[in-house]
């Protein structure tokens, strides 16, 4: 059994920021990551990170109040306002800290961090490093982790590369650690910890049309869910308006922030034809643009009934080369087109999981010593719809906060190092489960189950939803869950068994998918990204509430919880 003071699961931005914070508190931190941390999905974030720095000439009147209000309004009032205020008040400090640690942000002519306009924001407040902001931030945090991995003046910092956490161990409402599988050996190991922070990212790969990395299977949400921690607001799934046709690789909102047009097969900038995007046009919030694009395609104004065009040609080669080099590169490599000469074929695609592990504004869940941060968590600061540029902010602000609170909790904890028995029992249970999976002689092919799940989610739990579709999807997912019990692995070896890894995770994906569908079915209103054709209006009386989903063997048990409305009264969301 391994023992660290605080274990962080996930090595993306939130996880590394939390680990650095724990390390700063002179505690022994360990990061368990199923990939090398710099392979985490944070690396793929493009457009930028929001803070009211006021560095842009048109941003000098920006303030934390305005940024917080835009976030709350963008969330369709489902975000917890106290949490949003906390995030925004910390925003500038966190970004300056990243800059001090070496993050190569793009610059204004007077040498400050450059900012660009983004959807749903009153001012240009999205700080960026070309269109590779996630890459630059993640490398910066990885560099800091490397620095302190070997620094004697701080607590121990250890990174476990390529370990998959399969179980969270909770004993009488107190977190005791995790059970994890080492990919290199195929062995399970118990990790004792006085606090555990999950920063495992989103669940995009429940859908076939996602921008997410292949590793974003939702397993990191399933593990605490199985241990009794509720998932919150999972029905809120963000569809990004502009993903590359075919592969659904992200084409940053920054492309529109820099002035790109969206056009239909008549050559019209159609966003002008919809009441909710008439004013902001292409830089209206994501839920609105994605819906309007889908309507264009459904009404026959798309190309091949599948895509629209993102036109950057008028921006000119110099601007594209300096501000959007990454997406130019992707277009050239994946489609063989250069956006300098040709418009980019784009379609909306799954992009972000607003919901996640239920936690409060300290990152703490209902289980003592168990925290969550970043996309895996639902504080909630994004509510029904996240604004572009707020997710990177969420990761570093709440990564730090979770690390801080977990450290304080450990320092004050009376029964340090307790829980051996619970961990040993859990390890034995996991070993039994693994043995069963490896020796299963069932007839189901898991890759088929995965494909069917992804298709059901794409077809029936997408941008526009109805009771009929959701009912069908729920039935389908439940049927797939039953079939999953009878899968047969193609490979039963111990070392680097990727067949085993992907298919352990498939079990998590199916349960998280069920939570999304059940939540969407129960929420009989339209709010943010969740649009019900059969209930097209927002219903604050019944649904200005978070959805909490608790695991039961027969499917999720749903409850509601209150939304914090300390600062602004809900109003109709108009742009």
């Amino acid at each position: 059994m391994k023992y660290h003071d605080v274990i962080i699961v996930g090595g993306g931005l939130a996880g590394l920021r939390a680990a650095i914070e724990v390390n700063m508190h002179n505690l022994r931190a360990a990061v368990l990551s199923k990939v090398y941390p710099i392979r985490s999905h944070s690396i793929a974030a493009q457009g930028g990170i929001n803070a009211p720095l006021g560095n842009h000439p048109r941003g000098s009147y920006d303030s934390w109040e305005r940024h917080a209000f835009d976030t709350v309004k963008g969330s369709d009032y489902l975000a917890d306002q106290d949490a949003v205020v906390r995030m925004i008040k910390d925003a500038s400090a966190r970004i300056f800290e990243m800059e001090h640690w070496g993050c190569p942000f793009s610059r204004t002519p007077d040498g400050k961090i450059a900012q660009r306009p983004f959807g749903g924001a009153g001012f240009p407040r999205t700080c960026f490093a070309a269109d590779k902001t996630g890459h630059m931030l993640l490398h910066t945090l990885f560099e800091q982790a490397v620095k302190y991995e070997s620094a004697a003046e701080r607590g121990e910092m250890k990174i476990y590369n390529e370990w998959i956490v399969t179980s969270l161990v909770v004993e009488n409402g107190v977190c005791r650690g995790v059970i994890a599988l080492e990919l290199a050996t195929g062995k399970l190991e118990a990790f004792k910890a006085d606090a555990v922070i999950f920063a495992t990212g989103g669940a995009g790969r429940l859908y076939s049309n996602s921008t997410n990395a292949l590793i974003n299977t939702g397993m990191g949400m399933a593990v605490p869910y199985w241990a009794g921690v509720p998932l919150k607001d999972m029905e809120f799934v963000q569809f990004h308006p502009t993903t590359l046709y075919g592969s659904n690789i992200l084409m940053t909102e920054g492309a529109r922030g820099e002035g790109g047009y969206l056009t239909n097969n008549k050559g019209d900038r159609f966003t002008a034809n919809y009441a909710d995007s008439r004013k902001a046009m292409e830089v209206a919030p994501r839920d609105i643009v994605a819906r309007n694009m889908t309507t264009e395609i459904l009404e026959g104004r798309g190309f091949e009934d599948a895509y629209l065009l993102l036109d950057l040609r008028h921006l000119g080669e110099e601007k594209i080369a300096t501000r959007l080099p990454g997406i130019r590169d992707i277009c050239q490599k994946f489609l063989g087109i250069d956006p300098v000469d040709q418009p980019i074929p784009v379609q909306p695609g799954q992009h972000y999981t607003m919901g996640g592990i239920d936690c409060d504004k300290d990152g703490l869940s209902k289980v003592k010593g168990f925290y969550a941060a970043g996309e895996a968590a639902c504080v909630s600061v994004h509510g029904g719809n996240r604004l572009g540029g707020n997710s990177l902010l969420d990761t570093i602000v709440f990564g730090k906060i979770a690390g801080e609170h977990a450290s304080d909790y450990v320092v004050g904890k009376a029964d340090l190092g307790a829980g051996d028995k619970a961990l040993e029992d859990a390890l034995a249970r996991e070993e039994e489960k693994l043995k069963k999976l490896l020796s299963s002689t069932g007839s189901e092919d898991p890759s088929v189950i995965k494909e069917e799940m992804q298709k059901a989610m794409k077809d029936d739990v997408g941008i526009f939803r109805t009771k009929e579709q959701l009912g069908r999807a729920l039935q389908r997912i439940r049927e797939l869950r039953d079939r999953y019990k009878k899968i047969r692995l193609k490979h039963t070896g111990a070392k680097y068994n990727y067949d085993l890894m992907w298919n352990i995770e498939l079990g998590g994906s199916l349960d998280v998918a069920e939570v999304i569908v059940a939540g969407a079915l129960a929420r009989e209103e339209s709010r943010g990204s969740h649009f019900r054709r059969d209930f097209p209006k927002r219903d604050d009386e019944k649904f200005l509430k978070h959805t909490l989903a608790y695991y039961t063997p027969d499917g999720p048990r749903l409850e509601q919880s209150n939304v914090n409305l300390d600062h602004w009264a809900p109003k109709e969301r108009k742009y």
Binding site: V35, Y36, I38, R39, S40, H41, I43, A44, F96, E99, H100, W101, G102, P104, F105, S106, R107, T108, P109, G111, K112, I113, A129, K132, H135, M136, H139, E143, Q144, V146, K147, E149, S150, A184, A213, L214, I215, G246, S247, I249, L250, G326, D329, I330, K333, F334, L335, S447, L489, K490, H491, G493, K495, Y496, N497, Y498, D499
Partner: protein, 238 residues
């Protein structure tokens, strides 16, 4: 639907006496099919024992670097049709120990990266806001900051083949990236780490690294830059 023949390097050092190539036939089942998608097809439909790393599938995370039809590249951004052949040969990264199939031991690669102190060392307390940096100063760290640590350069380098202690193109590129940063103030320390037997002088300027870099970076040029800086230090003391 045309069929493509994949010859894939297979090796489990624990059980196999020698590596071998397995042959798989996969249909060209979609337009723009990438080598990574084909490998997943093989893993999911033909042989679940095939081991390879993957994450972002869009050329930014650096997981799936491998040797494909004669060149080190990222499997995810290499389209089968672009290879101009109905046969695809896939091998693991070179100069790194094979752990299984296409999975190699990345530790020596990362150890070198860590050795050069890959983090900003400003040498003075941070200001309240950002460090001022002009657009021109910022441009000096570009494009090296795009490095994704995929190790294509390391695998292609003929010097890493003969000197296992050679710091290699990736680590040296990162040393240069920080040496170029106007906010960094530790050139002496950076040069001390690389101005040594297994450091910058080992580079024979063969340009293999630059040729294979999926991000079109120029590690050879970065190493030359460090050599110039080191010589200047020695001759003129600055």
């Amino acid at each position: 639907m045309a069929d493509i023949t994949f010859k894939v390097f297979r090796f489990d050092p624990g059980t196999d006496s020698a590596p071998r190539f397995d042959t798989f036939v996969a249909p060209l089942f979609k337009k723009g099919l990438t080598v990574l998608e084909a490998l997943f097809y093989i893993q999911e439909k033909l042989d679940g024992s095939l081991a390879f790393r993957a994450s972002c599938r869009e050329g930014v995370c650096g997981s799936c670097a491998m040797h494909i039809n004669g060149k080190y590249r990222l499997a995810c951004e290499t389209q089968v049709s672009e290879l101009g052949s109905d046969g695809v040969i896939v091998q693991p990264l070179g100069h790194l120990k094979v752990l299984r199939d296409l999975v190699v031991d990345m530790e020596p690669f990362f150890a070198k990266y860590k050795y050069i102190k890959p983090y900003l060392m400003p040498g003075s307390p941070s200001p309240e806001r950002e460090w001022p940096q002009t657009v021109g100063e910022h441009a000096k760290v570009m494009p090296s900051i795009d490095c994704i640590l995929c190790a294509c350069c390391h695998a292609s380098c003929t010097v890493t083949a003969t000197d296992p202690d050679y710091l290699g193109p990736a680590a040296l590129l990162w040393a240069d990236r920080f040496a170029r940063d106007s906010r960094d103030n530790s050139l002496d320390e950076r040069l001390r780490l690389v101005d040594q037997l297994h450091g910058i002088w080992r580079c024979h300027t063969i340009f293999s690294c630059q040729e294979v870099c999926p991000k079109d970076l120029d590690p050879t040029g970065c190493i030359a830059d460090l050599k110039r800086k080191a010589m200047k230090r020695k001759l003129f003391g600055h």
